[in-house]
Amino acid sequence: MKRFSEQLYKQSTSVKLQEAEKRELRERLVSYMEYHPLSAEMKAESVVGREVTAIPVSATFKALPTAFLTSFKSSALAAVVMLVVLPFVAEKAIPGDTLYAIKVQFNEELRSTLTFDTYQKVEWEMKLVNRRISEARLLANEGRLTEEVEAEVAQAVKTHTVNAQREIEELRLNDADGATIASIALDTTLEVQSNSLRGVADISLNKSSSTKSQSNLIANVLDESLSLSEANNASSTLPSRSKLMARAEQNTTRVYELLDSVKQSAPAEQLTNVTRRIQDIERMIQSVMELDETNDDEAKLLLVGVIQRTQKLIIYMTELEVTNTVDIESLIPVVLTKTEEYTEVSNLTVKLDQKISLIQEQSVQVKDIEVSKKLAQSLSDLLEQSALAASSTNDFNVFKNIVKGALVIADETLLIIEQYKINEVDVVDVAELSTTTVSDVTKDNIGATSTSETKIKVQAETSSGSKSVLY
């Protein structure tokens, strides 16, 4: 073969252009080029570094060079539109929009398929729950939320939570700790969203019944899933301290990132609130660090608290509607520092003492024996509570409960005195009523809500003119 081709090639090289022929051919070509020059644009163009390969085009394409090029360009453009622009635009679609299907069935499915880590899958499902709920809110605000869509959203929320729970169960097989942490996160999300939806329901109670029913329908689904999830986790033990710590660190980092990103735009008050919560969290972590191995369980519980708090904070900061409908104090109550607790203790003590002395002062003026008797009873109760509070300053929560209860009693007692002054005719009835209330309060040490109820009760029982007398 070699010999053959060599021979053949050697022989063929004898066929060549003579120098004169070559020169003439070149001249013809150059003159052709001069008569058919390149456009100025092309002359300025640099060819160096181009990587486009000239495909040996077939005769068909040569006959229609422009059509081929144009069709290639337009189909490339179409592909870009299909794969990049549409999904991008679709991200903003809400149920009922044409592009919503692309968002849910292409973007989200793709994203979900590309997530391999089970924990991340759970997170993604949680994010989808949040998305569906924000969409529902958006629709409700625009008045486009029909019952049908409501049911769909509720169904979607259910599907996503079920998916998340399924992923958690899958995770539990290999990594029980991871599963528990994931379900803490999931539960927190469900809880926050449910609270937020119910918050909306309360606000819009008088506005439109549809918003309320929507919120409740979805909130019900959330609560249902939450109780299911809690039931699933009831048997599981707390994860190891290091894993909890790692998760807490991750969440804290995310919180800081979010804080950085909203620093410019968020209202000052919200920023102060959020910063305060972050400080609380930092202090909790600090106290976890101080706990040694003997207090492992306590540390774990604290860390779970940290994770819940950070999770709530993340949702608070990322979901605008949650921010607007939920009071941060009810979502994540402030944790007081020792100094603050001390100040609070002395404030409360002073307040209680003031009220007690006020009662003592005013009860002297009461002539009615029955009422005096009741007042004396209340006063002795109050003094007892005060003494009890003073002895329990070490445990702030116990102290706070006692003092709050005592303050309620004090307020009620003061109310009785006021009522007595204004409406001496009904004094006996009021005294009876108040005394029972006071003793209830004393027993339960209940908080502020019952105070208002009692107030309303008292107001209803007394004559119509008493409105202005309250406080």
């Binding site: 053959f4 090639y9 063929s12 022929e21 070559k22 058919h36 486009v52 040996p56």
Partner: protein, 200 residues
Amino acid sequence: MAGDQDKSTQSVSDHETRFLKAFEEYNDALFRHATLRISDREKAIDLVHDTFTKVWSYIRDGYQIDSFRPFLYKVLNNLIIDEYRKRKEMSLDALLEIEGVDEGSFDELSESTVEMLAATIDGKKAFELLEELPDQYREVIILRFVDQLGPREISNLIEESENVISVRIHRGLKLLRQKIESKDEYAEEYRKTQAKLKTL
């Protein structure tokens, strides 16, 4: 600014220099190919000229030609086909009908049998007989052994599968050998008759 000026002066000739460089590089090969295909020296020069002016037009239309060789061969090949059509010595369709080369036997598809076959052929004699081959075979044999293109390049160029190319080369070589042998026989015969005549 001065730098820009330099750059643009430099790039003015970018297309042109590349094109003229391709001319210097490939004019001989293209001329040889054309000559062997159409057996007409003057016409072959014209075809080479037309090939380059066509390619220049493509460049002017904004085509980016990265690799000149396959593109030049493609254009030249199309021009040669046009030339055949003009001559109508033999209709191309009829030519294609003569031999159905769509499927080849296993033997014909193997490159090694091509080598074995080629080893039995005298290259010098074969070159002389190229002209006598039907263009279908001449084309692939010239492309393969004169222009030294690979089977894939040839396949891209004449838009046939690589298998078809292999079969054609194989059959072309066989034909060449037959022709050489018959020529040798004829020469032998001729010598013998001459010798006989002498003795008489």
